[in-house]
Amino acid sequence: MSSSNFTRRGVLRTGAATGAGLALPTIFSGAAWSQGFTNEPTGSTVTLGFNVPQTGPYADEGADELRAYQLAVEHLNGEGDGGMLQTFSSQALDGAGILGKKVEYVTGDTQTKSDAARASAKSMIEKDGAVMITGGSSSGVAVAVQALCQEAGVIFMAGLTHSNDTTGKDKRANGFRHFFNSYMSGAALAPVLANAYGTDRKAYHLTADYNWGYTTEEAIRASTEAMGWETVNAVKTPLTQTDFSSYIAPVLNSGADVLVLNHYGGNMVNSLTNAVQFGLREAQANGKDFEIVVPLYSRLMARGAGENVKGIYGSTNWHWSLPDEGSKAFVQSFGTKYGFPPSQAAHTCYVQTLLYADAVSRAGSFNPCAVVEALEGFEFDGLGNGPTLYRAEDHQCFKDVLVVRGKENPQSEFDLLEIVEITPVEQVTYPVDHPQFAGGALGTCNPGA
């Protein structure tokens, strides 16, 4: 079948093709080999990847996170009023970008699914050359993207993720979390609950049937039982449940006098509404008033649950009504730009971006290993949570935790929570090898390429 025709034209063509092929190696950009680490920014700009849920159940939080990121980029590039740059204890940032490079960003949609989040993060790393990925509004996504960033050799600054596992069994050297976690919620809430409701309470847990629910239930149980509470029952509810009446009904006859709702987002809005409709707030059990507790509060949830949150205790990472200079500066510039106060998700994302930029500036390099070194054991102040430590052993931030309560007389749709107590950092600090965080290893930093 094969026919070999050596024509002059054919030989010339082959010769030209071979020549081009031989010349190719000289055209390769040296960059691919000279790079010390993945996506080293060589031009006058640096690209950050903001990977937030834009669709799905946490889209509202994602939108608020994105606003915060845009604000952070403005401030880093010296536009706007500078926000927390003035109050930040480290003054390495001067509003001229990061290390003199203008900050640019790309955005992506995590859809609150680990697969989609990883695909989006990968495209930021492979296509857009992002040197840092941040964002997320769920622990599953945070853990998945954190692992990806570790493999790819870029830094991951977690957004809103509350599960113990993010800096527990799934911790990674290239990942950092500013947000607090389930254990801290339990440790902060327990004393306040003991003060308000006494130490001889019987608790009934309804827990969202997934990873975050488990760690939160475990944390709350451990810290309340340590004070003398008794756990009567703990029931898991499917994540997709929208009507919780069948779960609430047995609570009244169980002998319990406190209901703990280990639910987040839409789950919490629905279960709390059901519980209030069933009259649990007015009920009496064991001769005491029946009470409800929500371990993790967010303003968006409080808004969803409306009237029902009044008087209900919970914990939160940050609240816009905090009186310190950092918080005021942030609320001021966020409010000026968008017309309403920021949520805790927005705050943690803004702070994470600043912390990354600052670490790069102090390290003098975008190299992930240098950044890790700069962040590990870093102590700072002025970012809204008081003196804070980024612990080197697990890359978790240790700072004060807020215990809040649904406000009885809200002034506006954003003024739904009031701060009951600011739990000092010592009370929520735990040893690295605490059983709730057991397993997993940080590994070593990976600069990639």
């Binding site: 955005t107 699914k113 680990s114 989609a116 492979e126 050297a173 049937d209 590994g443």
Partner: protein, 403 residues
Amino acid sequence: MLGLNKKDGTLLLIVIGLTLFAPFLLNPFPVESELAQFNAGYPDLMQRFVIFGIFAIGFNILFGLTGYLSFGHAAFLGAGSYAGVWMMKLLSMNVIPAIVAAVIVAGLFSVLIGYISLRRSGIYFSILTLAFAQMSFALAYSVLTPITGGETGLQLSLDDPRILTGGAEGGNLPVPSLFGLEMRDSFDLVLGSWLFTFNVGYYVCAIIMIAAFYLAIRIFRSPFGMMLRAVKSNQQRMSYTGLNSRPYTLAAFVISGMYAGLAGGLMVSMDPLAGAERMQWTASGEVVLMTILGGAGTLIGPVLGAGFIKYFENIFSKINDQILHGWFAFLPDGLENAMVALVHPFIGKGWHLTLGILFMLVVIFLPGGLVEGGQRVGRFAFRRRNKKAEGAEAEGAAKQPAE
């Protein structure tokens, strides 16, 4: 060639050409240009194109040939993914055991589900498969957390046994490889202002997809395929002639389940993490969309559909207002903002909307999917060429007598 007729052979060659030159075809725009936003030639997306292509090819063997609409195919993809990750945790980071185990597990799983679901047909079959898939999803998400990792997904860790290769060296996770060839290795080719990336993982997937595509052609053209088509056209008549169609439909179901498992195994070979969302009904619905969008029952349609949907998901969802302002910067300010506001609902988080509109347009105007679109264009061009040729002939004929 290879037992194919000329038409199928050409089709296979086209697919081979498209997949092997994808890094060039998908990166048509120079890196620094505004249009670089639309480049899709980066490893992750290219891998996704071919992996979902495999998934859709397999789905089409069931849906396109027998007409049984399974709404639970993502369950097999997920089962395959979990099997693959477990192989990497237990045996070694070589992708071969992962892929083989993924196919086997998905096959067994589909025998089980197929055996039960195929007792019914039509909508009842669809609902049964949907129920099984949702059940798998719910189990994987919560009850089976020790096996599946639950919400956070199953991923590798430093202390996995990996009995064939030993644990991890150093503090970093090992990466999936094929006998030492790392899946994530890439080779960048810079030609002027163009950048083309050749990724090892992509080519592994591409070669497997070509094999899968070839197998699908053979199945379509085989007597077995004919039997499946008979099931689609009139199952009752088949039973009246004394044929038991159940073994055929079950075989088709299992084959397509194994294709899904293969896709799952490849997915974790490229990116070693398996999340439960992979099994959710939306994922099952997605492959149905891919197949219908591309053209159900055609060979290449599902591959095109898969590429189409993944392109929108990954490229359109990443366009944000900042980029829009860049595009329309040449307009006066007021007009620029107006244009951005006009386009805004269709990009970024609005990619679902854009995809939905396109899907509607395709279903309304091209019921046969993208393949029908291609055929129409082809026919149009062909007819014109024919007409021209005819015209020339007629001219020639007219000239003849004068000579």
